[in-house]
């Protein structure tokens, strides 16, 4: 009986280990994004990391990984980045929580709306390779163009020197790694800041509760539209925010959220 149990454990462990794949490359990207097209001074800089091999990849923010792992992950540990509140010290909430998991052709995107994380399958992009070339970080790059399902035009610089068909966020599927990408209005620009070898395990983030799997991207777009019209509905928790003078500023915050009109997808 013991022998059977040991064999069972060995077999299950083997399958568990082989189910996780290791990256061959790590690319750090910085996204520069103007979230309100009427206020070009309102710029966000989002640091993201891509772990990739030819079969699988994960694009995520390291603060988000630390935060959710400290609460819901298998590798639970102390989150060193804490914020002191009247209710005690809490792990600092990550500013950028979205992630993209690619497994072969399937692209699974997780994006926040209010307090919730919505997951949906992102349709693949169709690329048109253009004639322009340039060098980025010593790699010879070619230019390609795509129009997303949400009707934004993006231009990507990719290199066949790194034959990994990957890139930041949903921008994948070219014959080499994408090192730079921007949209037509330049409200979104993503740059690779570092490219290095990696043998890290590719593991997705466990978002815990408030993680909602949607049947289609349309459902996500509808939810986001509703959120921008009525942020309180998706922020949950009946949040009311007060400034130092005790004035309720919840409405002002909701108005600021409603002004967002530039989105990565």
């Amino acid at each position: 009986m013991k022998k059977l149990l040991l064999i069972g454990l060995f077999v299950s462990n083997f399958f568990y280990t082989s189910a996780q794949s290791k990256a061959v490359i790590q690319v750090d990207y910085e996204t520069k994004m103007i979230t309100d097209s009427l206020d070009k001074n309102k710029v966000s800089y989002m640091p993201y990391t891509l772990l990739s091999n030819n079969e699988e990849s994960f694009y995520y923010n390291k603060d988000a990984e630390r935060f959710f792992n400290s609460l819901f992950g298998n590798k639970k540990g102390k989150n060193s980045d804490v914020i002191q509140t009247s209710l005690g010290a809490i792990p600092k909430y990550p500013k950028y929580k979205g992630s993209v998991h690619k497994l072969k052709e399937k692209l699974s995107v997780s994006l926040p709306i209010g307090k919730y994380i919505f997951n949906f399958e992102e349709p693949a992009l169709k690329w048109e390779v253009l004639n322009e070339t340039k060098e980025i970080k010593g790699f010879k790059c070619r230019l390609a163009k795509t129009v997303t399902d949400t009707k934004d035009t993006f231009f990507a610089w990719y290199t066949e020197d790194i034959p990994i068909q990957d890139g930041p966020f949903r921008f994948k599927g070219l014959s080499g790694l994408i090192l730079e990408i921007y949209n037509l209005s330049k409200t979104i620009e993503i740059y690779a800041t570092e490219v290095k070898k990696s043998d890290q395990l590719i593991e997705t983030i466990n978002y815990g509760n408030d993680f909602i799997i949607l049947k289609s991207k349309d459902e996500y777009l509808k939810a986001r539209k509703n959120y921008l019209e009525n942020p309180s509905a998706y922020n949950g928790n009946n949040i009311k925010v007060f400034d130092a003078g005790g004035n309720n500023i919840t409405r002002k915050i909701n108005e600021a959220i409603s002004k967002n009109n530039i989105f990565l997808d």
């Binding site: 500013k95 509760n209 009946n238 949040i239 009311k240 400034d243």
Partner: protein, 102 residues
Amino acid sequence: MKKIFFVAAMAVTSFAFANTSDVKDVKLEASKTTTSSTKEKTKTNFAKFLADTWSVSFTNSCGGTSSATFTSEYADGTPGFIKDLAHVVNTADAWCDGNGFN
């Protein structure tokens, strides 16, 4: 026919009374607010999750003091509660740097 009408009228009346007493209960529960220096907990009995109301204050990233009230369906100290609390603090803090609503 008259009998059916009478029975229906009695049923509607009894349901109406039942609803009135529920509303009274809710109002009574909602008015029982207790306050302490660090926690402000209001039992809101009508919510299906029996969510509690909390208040939190903290020094925001601009150096000022922000505060917020919120409800959570999760017990104090659980991962779900900490996530709710962290989300609230982030929402309040984002107003300070003006860039956090993405």
